[in-house]
């Protein structure tokens, strides 16, 4: 029984890591494209910054910063990238949920 729990926790942890990595990359790309559309300097740095902080503080600071920078120009390609990244972020979150729930139940059943 314990072995099964350990396996569930291991699979859950792996799913969680994959989901997290994928989601973080999508968030980085999303914020980078958004910053580029708004004419912010160093869009890649903003993308990286938005993924930092364990309570999404980086993303919240980006929201505060961009309030004074409306979208100047957004091409169809950029809009597609943004929409695509949002959908993929959602898929990554599903993996995170599955992985976390498996870990939680694996630990509780130990």
């Amino acid at each position: 029984m314990e072995n099964i729990n350990m396996v569930i926790i291991a699979i859950g942890a792996a799913t969680l890591i994959v989901g997290s990595t994928f989601s973080v990359y999508q968030l980085y790309k999303l914020v980078e494209t958004d910053a580029r559309c708004r004419g912010l300097k160093y869009p890649k740095a903003w993308g990286f910054f938005a993924t930092c902080g364990n309570n999404q503080s980086g993303l919240i600071l980006y929201f505060i910063k961009r309030r004074k920078h409306p979208i100047l120009n957004i091409t169809k390609e950029q809009k597609m990238i943004i929409d695509d990244c949002k959908k993929k972020f959602g898929i990554g979150l599903i993996f995170i949920i599955l992985g976390s729930v498996m870990c939680v139940w694996g630990i509780f059943l130990l």
Partner: protein, 135 residues
């Protein structure tokens, strides 16, 4: 007729260059070019300014362009998005309160705690998704 073609035709009728329109709207000439070639769409404020500048009604400018209408609907549908965000926040607070109560009052009910924890994970993920959607 698509909005891009309409904008181009109307601009030519009132004898204005892209640079002149860009100056009046405080955007770049490239932006005007992108709107006219439908590489991107103007937001609602820019459309109102264009309608004033070209002396054409909004009805004439927008009617018939399905893609433009969808774009505007998405831009202005803030109320629906705010409701989901607030709903997610309230759900999160409730679930965490329930978890706290259960841990205090019923520490032996491990399975119920696990269920509540799982629901809390799902609701936090939903809240995060709603926040990211607003980017």
């Amino acid at each position: 007729m698509e909005i891009g073609k309409k904008l181009k035709e109307t601009r030519r009728k009132v004898d204005l260059s892209q640079e002149q329109v860009a100056e009046k709207l405080f955007v770049s000439r490239q932006t005007i070019s992108n709107w006219e070639n439908e590489r991107s769409y103007p937001d609602i404020i820019s459309i109102i300014k264009l309608s004033d500048l070209y002396e054409i009604s909004l009805d004439e400018l927008l009617k018939g362009d399905q893609k433009m209408m969808e774009h505007l609907e998405e831009c202005t549908n803030v109320v629906e998005s705010n409701k989901k965000l607030i709903g997610a926040m309230i759900l999160n607070i409730l679930l965490f309160l329930i978890m706290l109560l259960m841990a205090t009052l019923m520490p032996d009910r491990i399975y119920m705690l696990a269920v509540d924890f799982s629901l809390a994970i799902i609701s936090v993920a939903f809240l995060l998704y709603q926040i990211v959607r607003r980017i």
